[in-house]
């Protein structure tokens, strides 16, 4: 599997105190562990992204635990307060321990 590359939608600019909408998307099969290999009849082992964390200048503002019922190529959208300028960092943790991450800068004015 090629390394998943996330897509982000984070406003470039916001006013202090504004509630902004973040959207994220990452490519991942989210193999549920329910499917069987058509040739061998054996169950294909589970391999999903099980955790998503959003940080704003180092502080966690939102996080989520995922189970196999989350669809392939998981999409998640949530909101956060634009408090100060800086960087939002997002990370996705795979069952195999790998962590995929991407960040975006935000400029917050008064």
């Amino acid at each position: 599997m090629a390394k998943p590359k996330p897509r982000l939608s984070v406003p470039k600019n916001a006013k202090k105190g504004e509630i902004i909408t973040i959207k994220t998307l990452i490519s991942h099969k989210m193999e549920s562990g329910q499917r069987k290999d058509k040739k061998t009849g054996k169950k294909i082992p589970r391999k999903i992204i099980n955790k998503f964390v959003a940080k704003y200048n180092g502080e966690v503002v939102f996080q989520s635990d995922w189970h196999p019922a989350i669809s392939a190529n998981p999409y998640i959208s949530f909101k956060t307060l634009a408090t100060e300028s800086g960087t939002m960092e997002f990370s996705w943790t795979d069952d195999d321990g790998q962590v995929y991450s991407k960040s975006a800068k935000i400029a917050v004015t008064q």
């Binding site: 509630i19 902004i20 099969k29 549920s32 329910q34 499917r35 069987k36 058509k38 169950k43 704003y56 502080e59 966690v60 503002v61 939102f62 996080q63 989520s64 635990d65 995922w66 189970h67 196999p68 019922a69 989350i70 669809s71 392939a72 998981p74 999409y75 998640i76 959208s77 949530f78 909101k79 956060t80 307060l81 408090t83």
Partner: protein, 159 residues
């Protein structure tokens, strides 16, 4: 003969095998013969594990899902919980369950006072027509619960 159906690719149904049109409400995506599916009781148990013997309140939670899912493997879901989201009064976590999926847990969403609004939108897999249950844990210990039914149909000619 029970056919094996994979979670992520519907088998081609023999179109001649089922006469009559109309919406079919049972879609058994992801079922392996012999494996159990979740029951509403499992969700009750999962909720109890989270909150102990507390009573759940109704209201405050809005679950936005389609009435009929076009495809059970990607069903959009949004949850919004009415709350000031202040340091003293905010939604800590929203847990989502599917009563009749192979496993009841779907996801848990953890908010903070910096969330501004307790809102999340994602896409989930649904094995069949069932209730989706959302449980919101508040910072003051209160627990709210809501559920919504989503119909899942299996197709006719996927290709």
């Amino acid at each position: 003969m029970k056919s094996e159906i994979s979670a992520n690719a519907m088998t081609r149904r023999d179109m001649l095998a089922v006469a009559g049109a109309g919406i079919l409400t049972a879609a058994t995506i992801g079922f392996v013969p012999g494996s159990a599916e979740a029951k509403p009781a499992d969700v009750e148990m999962a909720v109890k594990k989270l909150i102990g013997n507390k009573a759940t309140k109704s209201g405050r939670i809005k679950i936005d899902m389609p009435q009929i899912a076009e495809n059970g493997n990607t069903v959009p879901m949004s949850v919004t919980v009415d709350s000031p989201m202040s340091k003293d009064d905010y939604v800590k976590t929203v847990h989502v369950f599917a009563e009749l999926n192979p496993r009841p847990d779907v996801a848990s969403f953890h908010f903070t006072p910096r969330s501004g609004v307790a809102y999340v939108s994602t896409r989930m897999r649904m094995a069949k027509t069932q209730n989706i249950v959302a449980v919101a844990e508040m910072s003051n210990g209160d627990v709210y619960m809501a559920k919504t039914e989503v119909k899942v149909t299996i197709g006719g000619c996927g290709g």
